[in-house]
Symmetry: C2
Subunit: 378 residues, 2 copies
């Protein structure tokens, strides 16, 4: 720990009891790794959709106001009353943020797994990567290949393993193809590249024509645009062609999950089949891994009884996976880091810049094609 400073700057997200989000760059003690941990000097950390829920607490960022000083900037934004109720457990606690990042391991606990990483540049999943230093478990570190830089590995954990986890889940649960929503996202483009490489039939659902075009330019074979009047028929046709009976849904509100299940049932049941009020016996599954739409999920059941909707997260998936499976998935990420799993960033910002009102409003939009990278050492 010789060359590690005693304190460090870390981004914090606080919800106050009177309904305000308060983002700050705090100066805190640099943590010391436990026996089975490493300390990473964070050089790059992406702003993923999965970070924004904790970071922004569903605040109205269009009304954000800058405050604090140049050295200790603050930004505040109001939170609507109904939203506050669901935030009750976090009120009053200034929380660190950031699910993944990359950097150099500058200190390590005494376990062999931790020691083996000392000095290596790693991609890793943390929970507090929006800071100058962050603790990590060796299990959640991916040593980058020789010559790779932190920027290349900043997004090497969450999106690559999530996309691979979707395909892996499809195989484990016996489905023949996949459906993905919000399919033009960085994650969606990655999944499309994996499915094309592996010959996995994939139905990409997007919300706008330009997103459909972007995916088609990248070789996507089945793209359905939910803004088109023909969406439901297009979806049934794509499902008939792919036999996909498993969907991963980032939207998680409104009727999209229900539309997918109903379309799967229509694709499965022959028009000539005898009527069964219990529906087909083909199991149709939607896993919800995001919450882009905060409305309730509304299921209109015309899809029989062989169906499931449930939550899906990367961490429990990894916990359910065998050591060999994990090693295989991680090796593939390393091997294809700058091809299949490459991420492109439109903006690189410091911790302080992340609190500038205009910048905040831009990354909060989660616009397709825009992706921000935090550089905590700047």
């Amino acid at each position: 720990m010789n060359d590690v400073p005693a304190t460090m700057r870390q981004l914090r997200s606080l919800v106050t009891p009177d309904g305000e989000l308060r983002l700050s760059v705090a100066t805190v003690d640099t943590p010391r790794p436990g026996p089975r941990e490493v300390l990473v000097r964070v050089e790059a950390a992406p702003v993923n959709p999965s970070d924004l829920g904790l970071l922004l607490a569903m605040a109205d960022v269009s009304a954000a106001v800058a405050g604090g000083s140049v050295d200790e900037p603050i930004v505040t934004a109001p939170i609507a009353e109904p939203v506050m109720r669901s935030l009750a457990p976090r009120i009053g606690t200034a929380m660190p943020v950031g699910n993944e990042g990359a950097g150099v391991v500058v200190a390590a606990g005494e376990s062999p797994e931790a020691q083996a990483l000392l000095g290596r540049t790693v991609g890793f999943a943390g929970g507090a990567t929006y800071g100058e230093f962050c603790l990590a478990s060796p299990r959640m570190c991916l040593p980058l290949p020789e010559g790779a830089e932190s920027v290349d590995g900043a997004s090497s954990f969450v999106n690559p393993l999530t996309a691979l986890g979707m395909v892996e889940t499809m195989r484990r649960e016996g489905h023949a193809g996949l459906v993905h929503t919000a399919a033009a996202s960085n994650l969606g483009q990655m999944l499309n590249r994996i499915c094309l490489a592996d010959g996995v039939p994939l139905v990409n659902i997007v919300r706008r024509p330009e997103q459909a075009e972007l995916l088609r330019e990248q070789g996507a074979l089945h793209v359905c645009d939910s803004s088109e009047p023909t969406f439901e028929a297009d979806l049934v046709a794509a499902l008939e062609a792919t036999h996909a009976t498993l969907a991963f849904d980032a939207v998680g509100g409104g009727q999209l999950a229900s539309q997918i299940l109903n379309a799967m049932e229509r694709a499965v049941v022959s028009p000539d089949a005898p009527y069964s009020r219990y529906g087909s016996d083909v199991h149709k599954q939607v896993y919800i891994y995001g919450a882009l739409d905060p409305r309730p999920i509304e299921l209109r059941r015309r899809f029989g009884f062989a169906w499931g909707v449930g939550g899906w997260l990367l961490t429990p998936f990894l916990a359910r996976s065998s050591g060999e499976d994990l090693a295989r998935l991680r090796q593939r990420v390393v091997d294809e880091l700058t091809t299949t799993f490459a991420s492109h960033y439109t903006d690189q910002i410091s911790l302080a810049e992340a609190l500038e009102v205009g910048t905040l409003q831009r990354y909060a939009r989660q616009a397709t094609g825009e992706k921000f990278l935090l550089r905590p050492q700047r």
Copy 2:
């Protein structure tokens, strides 16, 4: 087939293209068993909630009108336009009805399993038990013990195996207790008796005070009445006491499944636990096995990401079960036919009486405590 008449009477349910339900007693050819089938002379068949969907096609039975003749009675009722859309696949086909019943095997195919049943009184699952004769697979027959009558065995298949299947599913999927909705039903009372006998913690959810009282009189330890203002707090308390994380829901519309999942999450998460926007990692599951409420299912997600909602049906459960498991479950039904699995009928009616407007309106209500038994030989 010597003593079997060439034709028989059978109840039929028809949806006409112009939006009318038409129930009739048709005279049709008596079917002949295939090599692996038996023919049962049906002496008793219950009117279960699971039969009413196919039988009544969600028609407005308050507007039912009698027709036909004494020998060939008919009853008709209008079907609302939005309902008609979901019935499209069955329009124009006069469908036989009836999921289970009991009677004497009067003819059998050549297979040893079929021949072994000849002359036996069996409870069985069919699909056309509302008729004088019905084909069945030996797999779906339960030979009744010596001395048992058809009335004792009429409900020996669907409700007993469904209730046992719920407990079995709980054990297979690693849950510690059960939640059941519409818990004062015939099935619910059976499940309560099984759980009390087996020491399985059970939370019974009912909709009216008299249903709560009925279950408490039968020894139920945890009863939550959704009509009480304290329902949600009562449910959380019962879930804390039972550690139940699996629910079977017969309602399947509105917010009940969501309320159960949210209450499970509250029961699982300690008030002192650090905030996680992903929720607890305890898997919470609701299986929907009915559709008492035809509205969409509305899920208001405050229950994290470790959750599932899905369909559950008896037949696929049986198909997933090993031969030994099935034999064990069936033997228990036979052993406890007139105790744990006893059904009580308030009305016994002939096929023609099932088409009388007043009778039809009574069994369509599915009132707690009322249960009808069809006697097709009358």
